[in-house]
Amino acid sequence: MTAEANERVEQKHYLRFSVPQRLQHILLIASFTILALTGLPQKYAAEGIAQSLIGLLGGIETIRVIHRVAATTLMVVAIYHGGEISYKLFVLGKRANMLPTVKDVQDAWHWLRYNLGLGRHYPRMPHFNFSEKAEYLALVWGTIIMIITGFMLWNPITTNRLLPAAWIPAARAAHGAEAVLAVLSIIIWHFYHVHIRHFNKSMFTGTLSHKEMEEEHGAALDAIEAGKEEPKLPTEVIQRRQRLFWPYAVIMTILLVGGLVFFITFEETALTTTSSRLSEPGAVSLSVDAAAGIAAEGAALWQELDCQTCHGADARGVPELSSIPLAGTEISFRAFAASVRRGPADMPAYSPEQIGDEQLAHLWAWLSSLDQEAAQAR
């Protein structure tokens, strides 16, 4: 081969990643990084560095929201990827060349022996070599685990309707451990092979050079140079398959996106981290409705339960005790009930055994009737 021809070969580039694949990868980088940065500090929350990072990203509530947004992005990418693979396999009839084969095991073995100086032959590897398959399959495995366990953590009550509750702490353990595995794998395996060993820009440029092909995908390069590319299906076959594929794709997309929306909106158990639960009116569970109250019964109970000692016989408070007047305050039934149940300030809390829900409704009815009297007087 002449020097000129040699140079031409070296400058030759081989298409590796399509534009949609490159876009998926960018979204994956973004979501994975954000998930790691917002997830690991939660796992290691006792560490100073984790706390600094959480503070930097806007506090625990904010990072939980960011984590969920990134998770949703990753799930959208996963759904798209599933559709893309289905199209390639079932419409274009391509080989599932990401699945591991015996040759991959042999390649890995030869690669290791060659590196250690025990073997002479550097393996000539296929379009996707063993290191890439390992990473891809690890990513698929990891994403599935993270989605399933993430669902359980996001929706613990719903999960408990389907599975024993013991799955929830197990999911939490798996979610955290899998995260550590994923991040360390990326750092050790992905960074070494694609960034440190030499910087592989194909995920952004889309192509590999001849030299890179030689080193990483020798077998694929041989096939290309021998003109033995994967056979393409006839156009009419593809068109016939497309007619079946698109309805399937639309239905699957609707189902999966619907599932995703359910996933992220169904339950707020694990999301509501702040509330003034101690004074929040909605926080008490009541067995009766406000309408069940009878004002006359309430007036009798007011005396019987000795409410007047602090709140006054007319429920207008006892100024010397600086107690709260209740008449004329137009307090809601739930807020009233919550106050009685929880005992604000120096008022004791009363349990349902001490003052039943029905009695609360009577008392409230009486207080409301005082409000109405006051309004009529005006």
Binding site: A45, A46, Q51, I54, G55, G59, I60, A108, W111, L112, Y114, N115, L116, G117, S131, A138, P156, I157, N160, R161, P164, A165, A166, W167, I168, P169, A170, R172, A173, A174, A177, E178, V180, L181, L184, S185, I188, W189, Y192, R197, T269, A270, T272, T273, T274, S275, S276, R277, L278, S285, P319, E320, L321, S322, G343, P344, A345, D346, P348, A349
Partner: protein, 368 residues
Amino acid sequence: MRKNQLWIMAALAGLGLLLFSVVLFAGPTPAQGQDDPTPPPDSESDYCLICHARPDQSIPLPDGSMLDISVDPEGIEHSVHGELGLGCIDCHGEDAFPHDDPLPPSARVFTIEMASICTDCHTAQANELIDSVHASALTGGNLRAATCVDCHGAHEVQPPDNPPVIAQTCGACHQFVFGEFETSVHGESLLAGDPNVPTCTNCHGVHGIEHPTTALFRNRSPELCAECHADEDMMAEYDITTNVFDSYLSDFHGTTVALFAQQDPNVASSQAVCFDCHGVHDIKRVDAENSRVVRENLLETCQSCHPDATSDFPDSWVGHYPPTLDSHPLLFTVNTFYTILIPTVLGGFLLFVASDIFRRVRERARRS
């Protein structure tokens, strides 16, 4: 003889004048008849006690309340102040007599006024008191709020170092809370004389008592419980694990609360703290029938925050003990799986990476 009579008369007149001035300036003349057993006064306190030692004396006040003006001399003598040799005027001042101040409007107002005397000497406690719930309530107009003398007593002040008495003292006003506390695991042991269990002041503080329903109190409460429950020596006596605090922190609830407490302790977090599950004053042994956290009652406890929780939802809480194959088979299996998987996968990756580095280093060395 006349001269002598004159001298005696002058002496008598002088004595009379002296007696008169004593009557005029020193107040009531001590009755010194032969039929009165009271010995002559030898200190100011004794002087006051001539009147105030008489039992069951009270005077009516404008609001109709009666002001008790009797003092038990024995009580003062054996009080912390009496033993230091302090007497009436050390607190009440010399100008407390004659009693020509206008009468206080009510007995309670008088008590509150008198309590302000304590802070003249006890300045440190007075400073702590300023922001306390009791002082705030008092300045806010709630005359029932506790002052120094409501807790310590006025004349019969004893050293405030008896935990059961402290609880009973608080209980005098906080009857509802005391009622819960005395049947709790802490209260029962306290009243039975256990020196380790907390009395009111161990959790709430002494003079600077904060409002216990603030976000701050809530967020810091796990640390409060940990003061004892993470103390290995103390917990060994009761065979209680000290892992409670760490296991709480590593759980979802505890992690969140810790992060809140660390970032802004004044932001209320809805995540459960110790007392949400175990109770506040009514904490029972975790295996007691009426404990909130005993298996039979745990669902109801979870439901107070997770109203939709179903039958076995409490199983999602791992507890305060490390999970074992028997107690948490699924969790234990997952942990074991990853304990094996992570080093295996990463070890394999590292082996391949190391071999590649080895080859490159060797090739470079050979070339140069």
